[in-house]
C-alpha cells in the first residue's frame, strides 16, 4: 500500500511514552502495571537499554500464562512472546493495520529510527482520523 499524501503516520497515533517492564519483573507486577495504566500491553526492555524493545506482553499472554497455571511470581521472561512486530513512526497507518491483521495482534510497537517510541492499539486505528487515512489508502 502506498501512503496517501498528507495521510496519518503510525507515529501520529502514539499518544504517550511506552509503558515498559523488565524481563525479571514478575507476572503479578505485569498485571499491576497493566491495570495501573489501564492498557492492554507492556513493552519488555532491559534496564540498561530502555529504548530497545525485546518483546511485548499483552493481556492475552497473561491469560495464557494463567491457563498454564504459572505462579504469579514467575518472571516476565518465562511467558513473554519473544520478538517484536513493529512499525516505524514514519510509515502510514495502513501499514500498521496490515501488520495487526496479518499477525493477529492488538498492539504494535512503534519505533523511531529503530528505537522504541510508543505502542499503538487497534482502538487507535479505529479513531475517526485514522479511519479517514485508512479508507483513502484503499
Amino acid at each position: 500500500m502506498v501512503a496517501p499524501a498528507g495521510g496519518l503516520k503510525a507515529g501520529d497515533l502514539v499518544r504517550r511514552p511506552p509503558v515498559t517492564i523488565t524481563p525479571q519483573a514478575t507476572l503479578l507486577e505485569a498485571v499491576d502495571r497493566l491495570v495501573e495504566h489501564n492498557i492492554g500491553a507492556l513493552v519488555v526492555v532491559r534496564p540498561e537499554e530502555p529504548d530497545a524493545a525485546l518483546a511485548v506482553i499483552s493481556e492475552r499472554d497473561v491469560v495464557k500464562a494463567l491457563n498454564m497455571r504459572m505462579a504469579l511470581s514467575s518472571p516476565v521472561e518465562a511467558f513473554m512472546s519473544p520478538g517484536v512486530i513493529s512499525v516505524e513512526a514514519s510509515e502510514p497507518v495502513s501499514r500498521a493495520a496490515e501488520l495487526m491483521w496479518r499477525y493477529n495482534i492488538r498492539h504494535l510497537v512503534v519505533t523511531k529510527g529503530g528505537r522504541l517510541y510508543g505502542v499503538i492499539s487497534i482502538r487507535d486505528l479505529l479513531r475517526p482520523e485514522s479511519l479517514k487515512s485508512l479508507c483513502r489508502s484503499q
Binding site: 498485571v31 491469560v63 487497534i122 482502538r123
Partner: protein
C-alpha cells in the same frame, strides 16, 4: 457485507456465571479469544467476561477458583443486532470504551461476539471509512 452478522466467525464461547474464573481463562486461551459470554440455564446472555476483567480481578486479589461473575460485567450488556451497521457497532464500542459486543438476533438470542479486531478487515475498514467521511445525521 457491512452488517455485524457478517463479522461473526464462530459460535460464541460461553460459560456459566457460577463457573470458576479459571474455566473462563481456559476457554479464552484454548479458543484464542478475548472474551467469554456468560449465559443462563436457557442459553440467554446475562454477562460477559474479558481478558481485561481477569487481569483487573487478579490485581484486586481475586482467586482463579472464585466464580467468574465476581469479576465479569453482569446485566446491562451492550449488544449489537445481526443486521446492525458496522459503524454503529464501532460507535457503541467507542462510547462505552469496550472492545467486544455481544451479537443477538431479533429474538434476543445469542448469535456471537464481535471484537475491535474484526473491524480491521479490509471490507469493514472501507465501510467504516465511508461512514466517517459521510456520517449519518445522528452523528
Amino acid at each position: 457485507m457491512s452488517s455485524v452478522g457478517d463479522l461473526i466467525k464462530r459460535s460464541p464461547v460461553v460459560a456459566s456465571p457460577a463457573d470458576p474464573i479459571i474455566k473462563a481463562v481456559r476457554l479464552m486461551a484454548d479458543n484464542n479469544v478475548g472474551s467469554a459470554v456468560l449465559v443462563d440455564g436457557s442459553g440467554r446472555p446475562v454477562g460477559i467476561v474479558t481478558e481485561r476483567d481477569v487481569i483487573r480481578g487478579l490485581a484486586r486479589g481475586a482467586r482463579l477458583e472464585d466464580p467468574v461473575e465476581s469479576i465479569a460485567t453482569m446485566g446491562s450488556l451492550v449488544t449489537a443486532g445481526v443486521k446492525e451497521d458496522v459503524y454503529s457497532a464501532l460507535r457503541k464500542m467507542r462510547n462505552r470504551g469496550i472492545r467486544h459486543l455481544v451479537v443477538v438476533d431479533e429474538a434476543g438470542a445469542l448469535r456471537g461476539v464481535i471484537s475491535m479486531r474484526d473491524l480491521l478487515e479490509d471490507f469493514v475498514i472501507k465501510r467504516l471509512g465511508e461512514r466517517v467521511w459521510w456520517p449519518p445525521p445522528e452523528d
